[in-house]
Symmetry: C2
């Protein structure tokens, strides 16, 4: 399922000579792994950052201290900051960022397990962020997050044509 | 298979309060993804860098220009430089780096598809690098690389106890 999605994303990026980078927290590299599963991905995938710790989010993506302190790592503010930081750091046209609670631990009444924020960004445009609530176990939440990121990305790169 | 391996790696790191980071080229995030598949991995996995382009290897891991120009991205020299750069960049005790040719393209007589260099590093110690030749398609080479990285890591963190 994701394979077809990745092929479509690749086709558009290749045709336009555009490049993509990823910033992942809860998916832990699953998005980069699925993108690079496709042969030739080195022609449009530039880098992926798995910013698992807060230190990594701050150092690699310049997520402000205040965002983490006031809103937490699982927030729209953090997803937007990750996306902005990714495009500042990487020589790419498109970026995706994802932060969420894959579980089984880490949930709260406010942010239950399965809460995932995704942000998409195109160079020169402000980033967008959407919140998802996914059901299921850790693996399922990570897979659904990856799917949502890639579907949203394909939609946006096609719209931008 | 890798799940048991990751559980064992996690148990040793958690017991000792040690942290791990990854630098991946040909595996494209598969190692980080498998590590973070395990619940609680945020207690010992700090960050993962998927340095797919040469620019990413230079910017994020300080791989010297000369290493890439003289030896290429798929070389023991590059794997060692990636490992050293990873430990300079990340506040971790252990690092793994992998760079190779997953195919189907990119191979040569000198470096056929399936050539993979892996480096393991512990803070305070020089990095080690080993070369592997894996057979099979792209997915198989990536899976065998991931397995080799994790097996070698478990061996080394146990030896270091």
């Amino acid at each position: 399922m994701s394979d077809r999605l990745v092929e479509r994303i690749a086709a558009v990026l290749l045709e336009r000579g555009e490049w993509l980078a990823t910033a992942e927290s809860c998916t832990g590299g699953m998005i980069a792994q699925q993108l690079t599963d496709l042969a030739g991905s080195s022609g449009w995938f530039e880098r992926g950052l798995v910013t698992y710790s807060n230190a990594a989010k701050m150092e690699l993506l310049a997520v402000p201290d205040e965002v983490l302190a006031q809103h937490g790592a699982v927030s729209g503010e953090c997803a937007l900051a990750m996306a902005r930081g990714l495009l500042r750091a990487a020589p790419v046209d498109w970026g995706v960022a994802v932060t969420g609670i894959a579980g089984p631990g880490g949930g709260s009444a406010d942010k239950p397990v399965g809460t995932v924020w995704v942000s998409w960004i195109r160079r020169g445009c402000p980033p967008e962020a959407h919140r998802f609530f996914f059901e299921g176990g850790r693996d399922s939440v990570r897979r659904q997050s990856t799917q949502a990121v890639l579907e949203g990305l394909l939609y946006r790169i096609r719209e931008a044509q």
